[in-house]
């Protein structure tokens, strides 16, 4: 576990910055000072200013809030919805299960950005709608995992015994199936978290995420693209913040996967097993 101290510390730092941004930020992130546009990094503005004279360091700190909030909310909403639907499909089976899994297939067939852009076009861009959009696009991943795990568990000895003794289905699901599904779902969730941070930033970059003047790393980077030849700091610092966060989260996610789910290390394995919706014998 020693190798995890750094990622955990980093994540803790980001969390602290997000929570304490009003105290830590040197300037008001929305303070427009037209006379101080596009200043390079210097004493009063460690990360320079943007095209409206706002301090980039402060905006980056406040951007942490958006990133963490959106990613966490998206993972939770998608996770809860996906796990619930996946378990229903796996436990009940029948035509309901078939319909759910077909919807899963459909959503998974569309490349992320296409779907995301469409969803935002329909709902309109805002922080809440970005969460909704991400959740709508990612819930099938949890559903698939929950589905196959439910199927697997359904065939196991102790569950069959419980069914035989006449225990109510709901109780069995919660008592026996859910504890099997949760670790796997959590693994998926931790791996997804980093991805959600990147996706939120990407949507903001395209102008589809949180709207101005709210600070988001993606929107600062989008400005950075416009001013890339004159204001390199706009493209560099928020991206660095993004990169470090995702790296830390990925490392933690890997560790979680190692601990909770050693039999499914290779991505390929996971994909294959998820597709096999057969009642399985217990694997080693």
């Amino acid at each position: 576990m020693k190798r995890l101290t750094v990622p955990v510390a980093v994540l803790g730092l980001y969390l602290a910055v997000a929570l304490l941004a009003p105290l830590l930020a040197p300037d008001d992130p929305n303070a427009v000072t037209l006379a101080q546009r596009l200043l390079p990094p210097q004493a009063h503005h460690l990360m320079g200013t943007d095209a409206l004279g706002r301090d980039v360091l402060s905006r980056t700190m406040y951007g942490t809030r958006v990133s963490l909030l959106v990613a966490a909310a998206a993972v939770i909403v998608a996770g809860v919805a996906g796990v619930a639907l996946g378990m229903v499909a796996g436990w009940r089976g029948g035509w309901l299960g078939a319909v759910i899994m077909r919807v899963v297939d459909s959503v998974l067939s569309v490349p992320f950005f296409l779907l995301a852009i469409l969803v935002v076009a329909v709902l309109g861009p805002s922080l809440v709608n970005v969460v909704v959009c991400l959740a709508m696009v990612r819930w099938p991943r949890y559903a698939r995992v929950a589905y196959s795990t439910t199927l697997q568990t359904r065939g196991r000895g102790f569950v069959r015994a419980a069914v035989a003794t006449g225990a109510p289905g709901r109780w069995i699901v919660v008592r026996h199936v859910l504890p099997e599904v949760l670790p796997v779902a959590i693994v998926v969730g931790t791996l997804e978290f980093g991805l959600m941070v990147v996706y939120e930033a990407s949507l903001s970059f395209l102008g589809l995420g949180v709207q101005p003047p709210t600070a988001s790393w993606g929107s600062i980077l989008s400005d950075g693209q416009q001013y890339i030849a004159t204001a390199w700091w706009l493209a560099t610092f928020p991206g660095l913040a993004l990169f470090v966060l995702v790296l830390a989260v990925n490392l933690l996610g890997d560790a979680a996967r190692d601990r909770l789910d050693p039999a499914r290390r290779a991505a390929v394995t996971r994909r294959r097993l998820l597709r096999r919706a057969e009642p399985a014998e217990v694997t080693a």
Binding site: A35, Q211, Q226, Y227, A229
Partner: protein, 517 residues
């Protein structure tokens, strides 16, 4: 474990290396699979970076700047304007007169040929007009020519009939391109848009969809031999990239630059910024009907006083803007010199807001990414300084349009925009923006309606000017909208190009000069 190299493995290493090389070659080959769109730098050829690929080459369809920049060089227009005085000058029409209130007669220049050799006649001119008026053709320019009921010919002359007296007819005819009737009828609209044939100073040479269009000088053109012998229009959506292209001399001319980009170009001694004031006005419009605090004229006057116009012009527009006194620029007909310029007076603003009891209230500003977010946010900051909180509601363009064009006026309190009618006339600005029932109008005043309705029916310029004077006084009293500044068109060029851009943002290559380095 040592890396044990046995003799036989040399062959294998060679095989693997060959495999890797093949892969790299495939990479290169895949890259070359598409014909590279390298710039053609024959002498006298200009490479021009624009923001968007033209949506069509049919001059009867879209007429956004990046699209007409290309096709108005392939086709001739009926009339042109003098670039310095803006006066109308003969082009395809050598002379014109109004024979009665609703009829105009244009003499068509003899001896003009389309680039396929066929002669250009009055029939072609009439066809070009009627084509745009044909509802099935679905021209985006229909509204600009809707005052025409039909176009006919009489001998070698074009005769235009308008439904009512139309004082703005001539100004819109400067945007009418003449297309070859026989060719269009023969190949159909779709093929015509892909393979246009015109009578203009340049002919269409080739196009790589989404990427670039090439034109070459037309040897059959009736005008003086242009200095520019050919041009490559490249679509480069990113402003920063257009600037980089200029700096690396990959492009000779770049259009649609931002003020910040102009600053960057100014720092390079080998490049020049070409700019000109245009008829485009940056403005604020209010929802006077259901806009919350904005329904109170005192609040609107307060907002007009709260904005630091000089700071906008100096800091955000970097000097590429001029103050205005209304929604019109001095270039447009109907401009009233007597009106005072907008003034920044935060003390008065605060007083008016207090009077109206609007202190601390929230106004909603609707916007979309199409409108410069820096200006929107600067306005938000200015209004906050006088006690009005602005809630910026940004959506994408289609949603924004639907909202602010709602006939029930259920949108926010104010919005920012930039307006140009390409007509140099007050009618094209204040009628659509403020006449009751217009899709853009959230204002209603019967006196104003009467004034602008008359304004578009009266031919005599003096009477028109008087009507518009009165109309502007109504607008100054009620302030359903206010002008922020007159916008400039900004281009970047290197030492090969000599050109003075004109206020109508037309992009005539035949007015440019190519230097031999």
């Amino acid at each position: 474990m040592k890396l044990d190299l046995i003799k036989g493995s040399r062959r294998r290493r060679a095989r693997t290396a060959a495999g890797a090389l093949t892969a790299v070659a495939c990479l290169g080959g895949a890259a070359c699979g598409i014909r590279p769109a390298t710039a053609d730098r024959a002498p006298g050829t200009l490479v021009i970076d624009t923001a968007n690929y033209p949506s069509t080459l049919d001059p009867g369809k879209q007429y956004d700047a990046d699209t007409y920049a290309v096709y108005r060089n392939i086709f001739d227009q009926l009339l042109r304007r003098d670039p310095r005085t803006q006066a109308l000058k003969p082009w395809i029409a050598t002379s014109w007169k109004q024979t009665d209130a609703t009829t105009w007669r244009f003499a068509i220049r003899p001896g003009v040929r389309f680039s396929d050799g066929s002669p250009l006649t009055a029939e072609d001119a009439a066809f070009s007009v009627n084509r745009i008026l044909d509802k099935r053709f679905a021209s985006q320019q229909f509204a600009n020519f809707s005052m025409i009921s039909k176009a006919t010919t009489d001998g070698a002359d074009l005769v235009v009939h308008t439904a009512q007296p139309a004082p703005t007819l001539l100004t819109y005819l400067t945007t009418l391109s003449v297309v070859p009737e026989r060719y269009v009828r023969r190949v159909g609209d779709e093929r015509f848009a892909a393979e246009p044939i015109g009578s203009g100073p340049y002919v269409f040479a080739s196009a790589t969809a989404g990427s670039q269009v090439t034109v070459k000088a037309n040897p059959l053109w009736w005008g003086p031999r242009p200095s520019v012998r050919g041009a490559v229009f490249r679509a480069v959506p990113n402003v920063a990239s257009r600037v980089v292209d200029l700096q690396s001399r990959k492009a000779d001319l770049a259009t649609t630059l931002t003020p910040d980009a102009a600053d960057q170009i100014k720092r390079d001694p080998r490049l020049a910024v070409l700019s000109t004031p245009t008829e485009r006005v940056a403005y604020l419009a209010f929802n006077t009907i259901k806009g919350g605090p904005a329904t109170d004229p005192r609040v609107r006057r307060a907002i007009a006083a709260a904005i630091d116009y000089a700071a906008l012009i100096r800091n955000l527009q970097r000097g590429y803007a001029k103050p205005v006194n209304s929604l019109l620029t001095p270039l447009a007909f109907g401009y009233d010199k007597a009106l005072p310029d907008a003034r920044y007076d935060p003390a008065t603003a605060r007083r008016l807001i207090a009077e109206a009891g609007a202190r601390g209230k929230t106004v909603v500003m609707d916007t979309s990414p199409s409108f410069n977010p820096q200006i929107v946010q600067a306005i938000q900051a200015d209004l906050a300084a006088v006690g009005l909180t602005v809630d910026i509601r940004s959506t994408d363009q289609p949603t924004y349009l639907k909202k602010v064009q709602d006939p029930g006026h259920n949108w926010g309190s104010l919005r920012f925009g930039r307006w140009s009618c390409s007509c140099l006339d007050a009618d094209g600005v204040i009628y659509p923006l403020f006449h009751t029932g217009g899709i853009w109008s959230s204002y209603t005043d019967p006196a104003f309606d009467r004034l602008v309705e008359q304004g578009r029916r009266v031919i005599d310029p003096e009477r028109r000017a008087a009507l518009y004077d009165q109309a502007f006084r109504v607008l100054a009293r009620d302030l359903p909208g206010l002008g922020l500044f007159q916008d400039y068109a900004i281009y970047g060029a290197n030492s090969r190009v000599r050109w003075t851009p004109d206020a109508q943002e037309s992009f005539y290559l035949d007015t440019m000069e190519v230097r031999r380095r």
